[in-house]
Symmetry: C2
Subunit: 141 residues, 2 copies
DNA sequence: ATTGTTATTGATAAAACTTGCAATAAGGAA
DNA sequence: TTCCTTATTGCAAGTTTTATCAATAACAAT
């Protein structure tokens, strides 16, 4: 079964529908790995779907996040960017140069454990963005 | 020395100026503890400073964050809210009801340690927002 | 295939946030 | 106090994001 067919069935099981807009946006995030802004995604998807509105892009991105098919992350500027859902991970962004590194979720496992104990909250493993100073920017200060 | 005078001197030392706009916004966040949206802050501050623009509120909030006098945090809707700088802490927000609890920074200390080791980044202790499900919403699902 | 239900889209307007620039005013120096 | 420098503000326009609602189209059932 293709990836697209699988996703379509996932949505239908939950009472939702697969549409060209959703398929195209998923395809874009799948092919171009990394983070993408709504504006970027809108530009790329418009090539396939002329007349696609920004409104729909924002709504589709929210929808795909809700359904676990893509993940949101904060960019250095504070705006949200999106990428295809992969293994659970997080980011540290450099306050100074905007560069970033990926953090495996396993590193947060223990903390999440403690957070659950202390707060009573069930920690769903959503993306977290930390801020810091990268090595280069540390030494150039 | 009053709190205001102290803050004024802090800014001057760094080549910045204390203004009625900055003082008023600091006062508001100081008096009304908790998180406040830019719109909320603008509404309150406008009582003291008629003609205050939203632009200035956004710029002032950014400025005060940069200078460590207030802290930003993500609200349940994903927008930024602000509070007067206090001891270092973080939040867990419930995805379902939007409620939140505070997390002491000490709980993250060990993780930050590890993050620095793994990434080489210097972890500045900025506010982190986690998402989860509170006890009430867990049982009502 | 055709039909009916309703999830989804596009259009429009509004709200939230940012940028560039000229006018203003904070505060150091005379 | 007065003057000068320039950080800061307000204004106006632009960008980004959200909300509302009627028209459309996905897809389950016939």
């Amino acid at each position: 079964m293709t990836c697209t067919m699988h996703r379509t069935q996932e949505l239908r099981k939950r009472g939702f529908r697969m549409t060209p807009q959703r398929q195209t946006i998923l395809q874009i995030l799948h092919d171009a790995s990394g983070h993408h802004s709504p504006a970027d995604i809108h530009a790329r998807a418009s090539l396939n779907i002329p007349g696609l509105t920004e409104t729909t892009v924002y709504r589709t991105l929210d929808f795909l996040v809700q359904n676990g098919m893509i993940n949101p992350a904060q960019s250095a500027s504070g705006h949200l960017v999106y990428e295809i859902a992969r293994h659970n991970h997080h980011h540290i962004i450099c306050r100074s140069c905007g560069g970033s590194v990926e953090i495996e979720h396993t590193l947060l496992q223990e903390l999440y454990q403690q957070l659950e104990t202390h707060s009573g909250y069930l920690m769903t493993a959503s993306h977290v963005t930390f801020f810091g100073l990268c090595q280069v920017c540390q030494s150039s200060t």
